[in-house]
């Protein structure tokens, strides 16, 4: 019988009650006395030189309180990139300043170069338009195509960077020559050129920020839509504004989705703080949907050539890739890590391939900044690998399942050091593959093909395996790789006098369900009801520290910190119990919420111990401090490596090119599962986003840098009828070997594994229909592209 409580139970998400009844409190819901409204003036051209901004008319308009331009921020710091990447020749990456407001030049459509603060939103909006009308920007030729940008030194996104390259990275550069030699002599080489399409994150809640300043104390408060309030505090305080961290509180209340786009610090946050100080009044800003399209950090946008060298029997010998990765106009905080250490290091997949070389050229263009988006680099790696393997199987007439079986690492090979620098601690890729085959009834596929054919449709089956490195990350390792911060996490467990518990965690929950799952873990470990545990997150004034939620890290890293803090609580509780029970500490056991003297019936409940800690009438005050509150920091020893196998079945209408995903099966290994229902939900969401990328979503800039897909009329998000009922399994479990919960992380899995499964299925369907000339279709695999491929 499944558990109904604690670890492993599908406890219902407690946060959903407020979300579903409209009682959530999001940044824009907060109304503050004396509040004012900021509106940003954004460039309508992709690239231009700011000749003059005449603020006089706007400043004189009704209700206008302040006008800001790039000039006001030219002496404060830039918003930095979090990872330093070196080029193949050892030179450090080019790091142009990312200012609060554009100064001198505007570099993408939507680049904010001024802001107006007024008494009402409409007044601010009117004045912002006036300011736009009073601004003279000389339009310059836009730099959009990555390869053209890298080849043309005459036109530059940043005047000081001649070839528009941020860096030219080789991983691992020392292996380059060996890999080239393997390719020279390999019996077979498959080459595939592909595009990993740019995505707009489209969180349901647009970004919003409220700045407050308290002149009496000199304190600032920023309420903002962040996945990562401590990092935002660090960046806006120390790097940009020069505010001491102890004078700034950052609060991220309920946040309606992020998918990566709300990890980063954005200039709007600095602006509302600066304006609040100037006016000594709260200053608020909420993005319009158009602003989200234009200015949220986008995802993906790789153009890749991948080559696979193998034996004629499909045994892998080497992978080699050459990728152009778009960073857009400025370096967003994680933008340099995403195409490199979150991408190149995964290019061995779950396979025992001895030779891998990855080259990534990261290019500045006049487009919105590009950064981590659900999966971040790993979906790009997985897509390249699984597509080229599929192509190779077709070229050599090999069975896709057999080729995977032949090349998988075997369970006895762990820990395994990959040729791209990671150490996989554990896994069983055979198990998830066989599970997926069983779930998908591959044996019955032929009959389904015939049934589809009878309905005039081509049916295809697509396989993708996937692995990711998540639970980021070991601070020492990421430091070596270029990270400028450590990636540990922290939690404080505060047991109140009456035995209920507040847990302050560094991870931020914006849809993941931490408030439920973390409470399950604490309740299980302390033998108390889940309802006695409250999870507090998203407020730097309450929480010791945190590195936020992204990279499927919350449970593996912050959850472990929390577990360690709970262990400290138990250890102290044992000391108190030993005193109360007049026994030696070594004889005290803790089980089911009771501290007992081993071998006796003498016991104290957890509640009694907590009460005694706060009302220490009978307490070892000489040796032990009162109170029952513990903090732990946890820095992981390694990444975690969840993996799995996905099978997608599609039907293709030859006449229209329309693709329907008719079945999707996921067999994942997430290690131990804390709440199966939430894990399933994460996989559903991730696969939905992956199907969106594969079939629907396309971010299109025209050659002048105008975003042509700037609204939901032109940007296709997947809808309910674009996705099937998912078949999800997580029973193949190889627990993580280096965190006490044995968990690996499940947040990004679906978005990583699903796009290649969908595209492989479409290619399979077309081949079964005799369209064997089709070797690849770029995402989104729209009806138009499929029809063109069939008839091209």
């Amino acid at each position: 019988m499944p558990k109904d409580h604690g670890i492993g139970a599908s406890s219902k998400r407690r946060e959903d009650v407020r979300f579903l009844t409209g009682k959530g409190v999001y940044t824009d819901d907060l109304a503050l006395h004396g509040q004012t409204y900021a509106v940003f003036v954004r460039s309508t051209v992709a690239h231009g030189r700011i000749k003059a901004i005449n603020t006089a008319n706007a400043a004189a308009m009704p209700g206008v309180l302040a006008v800001f331009t790039g000039e006001d921020f030219k002496d404060v710091g830039g918003n930095p990139a979090g990872w330093l990447i070196n080029s193949r020749d050892g030179t450090p990456m080019r790091e142009p300043k990312r200012p609060v407001l554009a100064h001198g030049k505007v570099r993408h459509v939507g680049d904010a170069y001024a802001a107006v603060v007024a008494e009402t939103y409409n007044q601010a909006k009117d004045a912002a338009q006036q300011l736009a009308d009073d601004t003279d920007i000389e339009e310059l030729p836009a730099i959009i195509d990555m390869k053209a940008a890298a080849a043309d030194a005459s036109n530059r996104v940043h005047d000081e960077i001649p070839d528009n390259l941020c860096f030219d990275w080789g991983w691992i550069e020392d292996n380059r020559a060996t890999v080239e030699e393997v390719f020279r002599t390999a019996p077979h080489v498959t080459t595939l050129e592909l595009v990993n399409n740019r995505l707009v994150p489209n969180a349901m809640e647009p970004r919003a920020s409220i700045g407050e300043y308290f002149p009496g104390t000199g304190d600032y408060k920023l309420t903002t839509t962040s996945q990562n309030p401590h990092l935002t505090r660090l960046l806006v305080a120390a790097f940009v504004m020069g505010i001491p961290e102890n004078k700034l509180t950052v609060v991220a209340p309920d946040v309606g989705g992020g998918f990566g786009s709300k990890i980063y610090h954005y200039g709007e946050e600095a602006l509302v703080l600066a304006a609040a100080k100037k006016l000594a009044r709260p200053v608020r800003w909420t993005a319009e949907r158009s602003e989200s399209f234009l200015s949220d950090a986008h995802g993906r946008d790789h153009v890749t050539k991948i080559e696979l060298a193998c034996e004629k029997d499909g045994t892998f010998l080497a992978f080699r890739t050459e990728t152009y990765a778009n960073v857009g106009a400025y370096l967003s905080n994680f933008s340099t890590a995403t195409p490199t250490f979150l991408h190149g290091t995964l290019m061995a997949g779950p396979y025992k391939v001895p030779n891998v070389y990855v080259n990534v050229k990261t290019v500045f263009t006049n487009t919105a900044p590009v950064d981590a988006y659900r999966g971040a680099g790993r979906p790009e790696a997985t897509f390249s690998l699984e597509r080229v393997i599929d192509k190779m199987c077709r070229e050599l007439g090999l069975d896709a399942f057999e080729v995977r079986r032949k090349n998988f690492l075997t369970p006895d090979q762990f820990p395994y050091t990959t040729p791209v620098g990671l150490v996989y601690d554990t896994g069983n890729y055979q198990a998830t593959l066989e599970k997926a085959i069983e779930m998908a009834d591959v044996a019955g596929f032929g009959a389904r093909v015939a049934a589809s054919k009878a309905r005039g449709k081509l049916r295809g089956l697509g396989l993708s395996t996937w692995i990711e490195a998540c639970g980021i990350a070991p601070s020492h390792l990421v430091g070596v790789l270029g990270s400028r911060v450590g990636l540990y996490d922290a939690a404080t467990v505060r047991v109140n006098a009456t035995g209920n518990i507040s847990v302050m965690v560094g991870a931020h929950s914006h849809g993941q369900g931490h408030e439920t799952v973390f409470a399950q873990i604490v309740a299980e470990k302390l033998g108390i009801p889940e309802s006695s545990v409250e999870i507090v997150h998203g407020d730097t004034s309450k929480i010791p520290f945190g590195m936020g939620s992204y990279g499927s890290r919350s449970l593996a890293v912050c959850g472990t910190a929390m577990t360690k803090a709970v262990d400290k609580i138990v250890a102290k509780g044992k000391k108190i119990a030993a005193h109360m029970l007049e026994a030696s500490e070594g004889d005290i056991t803790f089980e089911d919420g009771k501290f007992s003297v081993a071998g006796t019936d003498k016991a104290k409940t957890f509640g009694e111990i907590a009460f005694s800690a706060y009302v220490p009438h009978n307490y070892p005050l000489e040796t032990l401090e009162p109170g029952l509150e513990e903090t732990a920091f946890y820095d992981p020893a390694n990444f975690t490596y969840p993996a799995g196998a996905y099978l997608c079945e599609v039907e293709v209408d030859e006449g229209t090119g329309k693709v329907d995903v008719v079945a999707f099966h996921c067999a994942d290994d997430f290690g131990n599962v804390m709440n199966p229902m939430i894990v399933e939900g994460q996989v559903h969401g991730g696969v939905g986003q992956g199907i969106g990328q594969a079939l629907c979503e396309s971010t299109t800039y025209d050659e002048t840098g105008q975003l042509l897909t700037g609204s939901y009329m032109d940007y296709a998000m997947p809808r309910a009828d674009d996705v099937p009922f998912y078949n999800v399994d997580y029973s193949c479990q190889t627990p993580c070997t280096h965190n006490p919960l044995g968990v690996k992380g499940c947040g990004e899995a679906g978005a990583i594994g699903s796009p290649p499964a969908v595209v492989n299925a479409v290619i399979d369907a077309l081949h079964r229909g005799g369209h064997t000339h089709v070797t690849h279709i770029d995402m989104p695999v729209s009806p138009n592209r499929v029809w063109q491929a069939i008839n091209g």
């Binding site: 309508t44 051209v45 459509v109 338009q129 736009a132 009308d133 158009s290 399209f293 234009l294 299109t700 025209d702 002048t704 105008q706 975003l707 042509l708 897909t709 700037g710 609204s711 009329m713 032109d714």
Partner: protein, 179 residues
Amino acid sequence: MQLTDSRDIKAAPEAVWAAILNPEVLKDCVPGCESMTGSVEAGFEAAVVQKVGPVKARFTGVVTFSDIAPGRALTLTGEGKGGAAGFAKGSAKVTMEPIPEGTRLTYEVQANVGGKIAQLGSRIIDGFAKKMADEFFARFQQTVEGPPPAEADGADPETADEAGEASGEKKGWFRRLIG
């Protein structure tokens, strides 16, 4: 966005040439044009109200003339700012060659939109631009040639007679205006 087309106008190249440099004519021919003033040397200042998909805006800007080869060719370049709607800009390279029926007008239009119109209206912008160009040149043709015969018969028999006299060439409002 690029657009190339041609039209045969039943009027002499000199008449077509004069019309295309006349702000009054352009005002009547540009769909949604509220005003068009100025000179060929300094350019025309224009105000146009248009609705592109969900975005309706009043565009103001300047149209300038370049590569002028009198009676044969010229290039019109313009940029209109539509406030919150964004901007539209483009150029039209127009050439005229005499043909037995009058003048063949060939145009190559290059147009770009930016800001909100691009973000919201890109799906329909090509169709919109073609419609605008078609409408402009249809009106232009009509203005230069005069109303089509059927309509002209009913509305103004005198014009039809005059047109008949001028060796099959219709003489419209504009032709009468310039003599």
